[in-house]
């Protein structure tokens, strides 16, 4: 074997033997370190995957949604509104949408009702999101009744369930025909919840929104790019919130690592003194400690990252679920498409491996450059 490699192996042997002398303390440190990396990596992988998912699927959402505001609140679109919009140049397609919320006291959950054309959902039947169907124990062919806000009971036949793969988007969705929707919510004829616009030229979207705001001053256009930006910022915010909550733990670990690494115990100082007295060079002592820092931090990083990967992409980030779920009764069951990028890993590795290795080195360099006699005293 190459003499340099053999020397490093001996240094590593010595380092591990020294670590083994304080086994419980060092295993505890490694476990806490790996746990910290696990939480940080889980958070990074989870938010990044959700961010990518939202960006990918919502890129197909309508270019512009037009809402009408009355007294600061979202109000119904009155008849005639659609015609006014139709005169705007660049608008390819316009569609009045009907959707709303329904609170189901049986499971204390909120549903989103949405009207669909009769050729998709026949009158008297509904299509359900898989999460909702699970919560109510429904299968295609079953009947379900909802009491409307007017107090009338409406019965629907479950025609089909939406694909379980779509739970992240349609957990609480109830699709029904337009006639049923209007009858159930007692919706005034000719009114809509909002309007979805298709714009042929993406460059024109902002201009059309500006024209809309001028032509219909009580309207509020919501652009697709705003929807996408909302989701990017939601997950940035969430990552920030969890990081804030974790800040205490991160600081506590930083203190522990700093204390362990920088505050050399009398025993360690004596050890360095003895090593120098028997002929070790300052460089050897530093190399030995460098190996210690690299071995501990690299093991913690690798273990923490792999555990985080399994947690997020095979166990659905089960630890974060209660935080995400909030008070919601319907929580979708979903699998994320991994979005692991090099920059993310490099950042995580830099902030976990580098500080510890550096914290180990500085005090050792100070101790190793002093006179062995003084260190041993």
């Amino acid at each position: 074997m190459h003499p340099w490699l053999e020397k490093q192996r001996h240094l590593i042997d010595f380092t591990l033997a020294a670590l083994a002398r304080r086994k419980a303390k060092n295993i505890g440190l490694l476990a806490a370190y790996a746990l910290l990396v696990f939480v940080l990596a889980s958070l990074a992988l989870f938010t990044q995957a959700l961010r990518k998912e939202a960006g990918f699927v919502l890129a197909a959402s309508p270019e512009v949604i037009v809402q009408r505001m009355v007294a600061g609140r979202h109000d119904l679109i009155p008849p005639g509104y659609l015609e006014k919009i139709g005169r705007l140049r660049g608008v390819q397609k316009k569609e009045g949408r009907l959707w709303g919320y329904y609170y189901d006291p049986v499971v204390s959950a909120n549903y989103t009702f949405m009207a669909r054309p009769a050729e998709e959902v026949a009158s008297g039947s509904i299509m359900l999101g898989a999460t909702l169907a699970r919560a109510r124990g429904l299968q295609p062919g079953n009947l379900i009744s909802f009491r409307s806000y007017a107090g009338k009971l409406f019965s629907f036949k479950v025609a089909a369930l939406l694909s379980p793969d779509s739970e992240l988007l349609a957990a609480d969705l109830v699709l029904l025909s337009e006639d049923d929707f209007r009858a159930f919510f007692d919706y005034p004829a000719g009114h809509y919840t909002d309007i979805a616009l298709s714009v042929a030229n993406p460059q024109e979207v902002r201009n059309i929104a500006a024209k809309l705001a001028n032509a219909l001053p009580d309207s509020r256009p919501i652009l697709r790019e705003e929807v996408l930006r909302t989701y990017q910022s939601i997950f940035d915010w969430r990552e920030g919130i969890v990081l804030t909550v974790l800040a205490g733990a991160i600081l506590a670990f930083a203190l522990l690592a700093w204390d362990k690494a920088s505050g050399l115990s009398a025993e360690e100082k004596r050890e360095i003194g003895i090593l120098k007295a028997i002929g070790w060079e300052t460089g050897d002592v530093i190399r030995m400690k460098l190996w210690e820092g690299v071995l501990v931090s690299l093991s913690a990083f690798l273990l923490g990252f792999v555990a985080a990967y399994i947690h997020v992409f095979y166990f659905g980030a089960a630890i974060f679920k209660p935080v995400l779920q909030g008070w919601a009764v319907l929580y979708p069951s979903f699998t994320l498409v991994p979005a692991v990028d090099g920059l993310q890993i490099a950042t995580l590795a830099f902030f976990t491996i580098f500080p510890y290795s550096a914290a180990v080195l500085v005090p050792i360099w100070r101790a190793a450059t002093t006179d062995p006699d003084a260190v041993m005293r």
């Binding site: 042997d13 591990l16 990918f56 699927v57 919502l58 890129a59 197909a60 959402s61 809402q67 505001m69 600061g72 609140r73 979202h74 909120n110 989103t112 949405m114 669909r116 999101g129 999460t131 694909s163 793969d165 779509s166 992240l168 988007l169 349609a170 957990a171 609480d172 969705l173 929104a209 500006a210 705001a213 001053p217 009580d218 509020r220 919501i222 652009l223 705003e226 929807v227 930006r229 909302t230 910022s233 915010w237 969430r238 919130i241 071995l295 690299l298 093991s299 690798l302 792999v306 990967y309 399994i310 992409f313 995400l324 909030g326 008070w327 009764v329 699998t335 498409v337 991994p338 692991v340």
Partner: protein, 110 residues
């Protein structure tokens, strides 16, 4: 007897291998789960969906991109936002940005 450095190298090698496998697995899962994701995108386009159904407890958390600026506090003036998700959910940036000229501008008095 096994030298400690050999033992450490074996352990680190195994951890490094697991790390590499996780990266390869990410690529594999990405390919395997892409058709379902394409389906979700088709559903979004077909139904005109605008939001993920991650938080279904309140209307402004179910459809954050469609909610108006004060919907979290609309129950009565000075009402506190009482759903836990509200603490996790940032208001959409286009509503808080001072340059957002399109959001909620009305000519008629509210």
């Amino acid at each position: 007897m096994l030298r400690p450095s050999t033992f450490a190298a074996a352990l680190l090698g195994a951890a490094g291998l697991a790390f590499a496998v996780s990266l390869l697995d990410a690529a594999r899962l990405g390919t395997a789960r892409q058709p379902a994701r394409d389906e979700r995108r088709v559903l979004v386009g077909k139904l005109g969906l605008t939001d993920l159904s991650l938080f279904t407890e309140a209307r402004y958390t179910r459809h954050p991109s469609q909610a108006d600026l004060h919907s979290a506090l609309q129950d009565h003036p000075a009402a506190f936002d009482h759903f836990p998700t509200g603490a996790l959910l940032a208001p959409p940036p286009h509503l808080t940005a001072p340059y957002a000229s399109l959001a909620g501008k009305t000519a008629s008095p509210d």
